[in-house]
Amino acid sequence: MTERELFDAYNKDVYRTCYYMLRNAQDAEDLCHDVFVTVFRQEWRNVEHTRAWIMRITMNHCLNLLRRNQTQREKQSQVQWLHEQTTASVKSVDTIVLEKAATAEWEKLLNQLPDKLMAVITLRYIGELSMTEIAETLKIPVGTVKSRLHKALKIMRKKLEQNHSIWLKGEKQYGTH
């Protein structure tokens, strides 16, 4: 595998992890760049579980930047989403509007998740890491990974319930209202 191939294989997942963790496209882009610089400075070809390793580096970078930016971020308003790429696609206007609405809602809700929970779900769903790998990355017990994951899902469900989202149709436990 060449460096370029490695970059192409993981750039989207790394970027997306940065994006979800930092809620800011510019920071995500800068950090994604630095993650690969870091990766290429190391003996990456000797690493056994490349994916988990890269995701771990990504998460460490994110958490570091979050700590630095904590105060700045608190002052920032929620991220503004630009959908240039979506609108550029061939979908009908209606589909785009519907998708935008749903996506925007998801984004809004995801943005409200605390960093700790966000770290677990991005590693799980974007990084596709196992519970044990997440535990190792975040240096927390596996039990804590499970409980944070469960908590994140619970919060999302609750928020979606409050927003009467279409996304909940068919959810077994729905109907608490």
């Binding site: 995500a28 690969f36 979506t86």
Partner: protein, 549 residues
């Protein structure tokens, strides 16, 4: 829950939800960063705001020098809250990356970063106790450095347990400064002592004003005496004196009285407590002030709380470090000022300013030894940015006082260009007492009061006998009065001083003082004020140190 999980996964993983950046452009930029020198010239390839470049450039500098990627995930900010200048330098990527570890018996000491400049030498370390951790806290029998000749370099350390990472994160700081640009040193720590909370309940009666004695006889603690004194403002002072069976415990036990309410929660002190002042025969003396009604309430229990050694990991963990001033050299400078400070007694001059990216020091020299610089608060005004600072007395240099300011929100270079002024506020002066006696008459167990004045400040005296000792308390209703430091009586021409029975802090709000004359057997006594202090909280001194460029 399953559906929500699937939805979430789909949402986060879906290509369409995230507008991606231009990865091709990113790729070329990554490649250029590989060639580090070229990367700086081509930074414009990635257009973004200036500010963000600064932040991210700082990170990538740190990354380049960091062989272990995990090292970056340490957050030092809470540990360094009183060492803001180090945080400042760390954020600018100015530390010297060390990342050297030594493991012995499953315990790993790692030195991560060093900061070496003309003011101090500062190391960030972590200690991973592995499975040997036996208590919440850890201390060392010794921590320090040795220079290449083997001469010991002493300093101070502080660390915190990081639950998430399972390590103690700490720093070692010393005033020792390398003579040249580089120095080979050995950093080591001996015997790690793990401590946890020790408890011993005591049947203390807060309504009994007499000295109460309790036998502990465990964990190196022998016995304790405890005395209560009613104070103005509904407060109660608890004075404790502890003797140890293990003399080492004096330095690491932090024995204190805990009052627990009926819900078993500790009751907070009403004023800052003072722990561990040495008594005449080596006791460990403490004073804690509580609200009387809170500790006299129903169901309140008392206990002795202390740090108890739970286990030790014996051995020496040692690392040879090649320290270099290179990282902090840029922006460091010394400037001789010799500005006379006529507002300060003792022939005081601001002799020198030493600037490094982590700290600014002003060296004050005095013609008279042990001159006290009479201000409580110090700031450095650098072109409108204020750096907070404090006073440091260096042992062994009685003609010198240092003012130290941690560098925050500034780089050292701005001190070369901007105008710099010293601001000193809240003046506290010390005066000798006068020759007017305070006449204590009809001395008995009953509390009696009288009022006198000194230099126009009213002082209320309260005196009484308790267990054969005479107690004399003084208090002023005038907040500009700082308090009396000690009283004495005249035995012929010689002064016989009362023993301070309460520890006062210079410059704090409380101007109460208490002396005890032990084994007193008379009914009358003339006492005198030895020294007293006054506050001038609005006094602010401003001294221009250098003009801007």
């Amino acid at each position: 829950m399953e559906r929500i999980e699937n939805n979430l996964k789909e949402q986060m993983k879906a290509e369409k939800t995230t507008p991606y950046p231009d990865f091709d452009r990113m790729w070329s930029s990554i490649q250029q960063d590989e060639l580090r020198v070229a990367a700086r010239d081509t930074a414009a390839l990635r257009p973004r705001k200036r500010k963000q470049i600064a932040i991210v450039a700082g990170i990538s500098v740190a990354l380049m020098a960091t062989p272990v990627y995990a090292a970056l995930s340490y957050d030092w900010s809470s540990l360094l809250s009183y060492r803001a200048g180090i945080t400042n330098a760390l954020e600018q990527g100015l530390g010297q990356t060390i990342e050297q570890s030594v493991t012995k018996d499953g315990v790993t000491l790692t030195v991560h970063t060093a900061f070496i400049d003309d003011n101090r030498t500062f190391l960030l370390y972590s200690l991973d106790p592995g499975s040997s951790r036996m208590g919440v806290q850890a201390g060392f029998d010794h921590i320090g450095m040795k220079d290449h000749m083997g001469n010991p370099i002493e300093g101070n350390y502080s660390h915190q347990w990081n639950e998430e990472l399972g390590v103690f994160q700490g720093y070692f700081e010393t005033d020792w400064v390398a003579d040249g640009k580089t120095a080979d040193v050995e950093f080591s720590l001996d015997n790690i002592r793990f401590t946890g909370d020790g408890m011993h309940s005591i049947s203390f009666d807060p309504n009994n004003p007499n000295t109460q004695e309790f036998q502990v006889q465990k964990d190196g603690i022998g016995s304790m005496t405890l005395q209560s004194f009613d104070q103005s403002g509904g407060n109660m002072l608890l004075k404790s004196a502890i003797t140890f069976t293990d003399p080492e415990m004096r330095h690491r036990s932090w024995v204190r009285i805990q009052a627990l309410n009926d819900k078993n929660e500790p009751i907070k002190e009403a004023e800052t407590p003072v722990f561990g002042t040495p008594g005449a025969s080596g006791e460990y003396l403490s004073q804690q002030i509580f609200k009387s009604n809170s500790i006299r309430a129903q169901g309140v229990q008392f206990q002795l709380a202390y740090d108890r050694t739970l286990g030790t990991a014996e051995g020496t963990w040692s690392l040879n470090l090649a320290l270099s001033k290179k990282q902090l050299e840029n922006g460091s400078f010394k400037e001789t000022l010799n500005i006379p400070l006529d507002q300060v007694p003792g022939g005081t001059k601001i002799h020198e300013m030493i600037v490094t990216p982590t700290q600014v020091r002003l060296i004050l020299t005095h013609k008279e030894k042990y001159t006290r610089v009479p201000y409580m608060d110090y700031q450095l005004d650098v072109g409108g940015t204020l750096l907070n600072g404090g006073i440091w007395y260096k042992s062994g240099s009685s003609n010198q006082t240092e003012l130290r300011f941690e560098m925050t929100g500034l780089d050292a270079a701005s001190l070369t260009k901007q105008p710099v002024s010293l601001i000193a506020k809240h003046r506290v002066d010390e005066f000798a007492g006068d020759k007017n006696p305070i006449k204590l008459t009809g001395i008995s167990a009953e509390h009696q009061s009288l009022t006198t004045t000194i230099a126009g400040y009213p002082i209320t005296w309260t005196y009484y006998m308790k267990e054969n000792h005479l107690y004399v308390e003084s208090l002023s209703s005038d907040p500009a009065f700082g308090g009396i430091n000690q009283t004495y009586y005249l035995d012929g021409k010689d002064r016989s001083y009362g023993m301070p029975a309460m520890i006062g802090m210079l410059g704090n709000e409380n101007n109460k003082h208490m002396d005890v004359y032990e084994n007193f057997d008379q009914t009358e006594l003339d006492i005198y004020i030895s020294n007293y202090t006054t506050h001038n909280r609005n006094d602010a001194l401003r001294v221009p140190l250098k003009a801007g460029q």
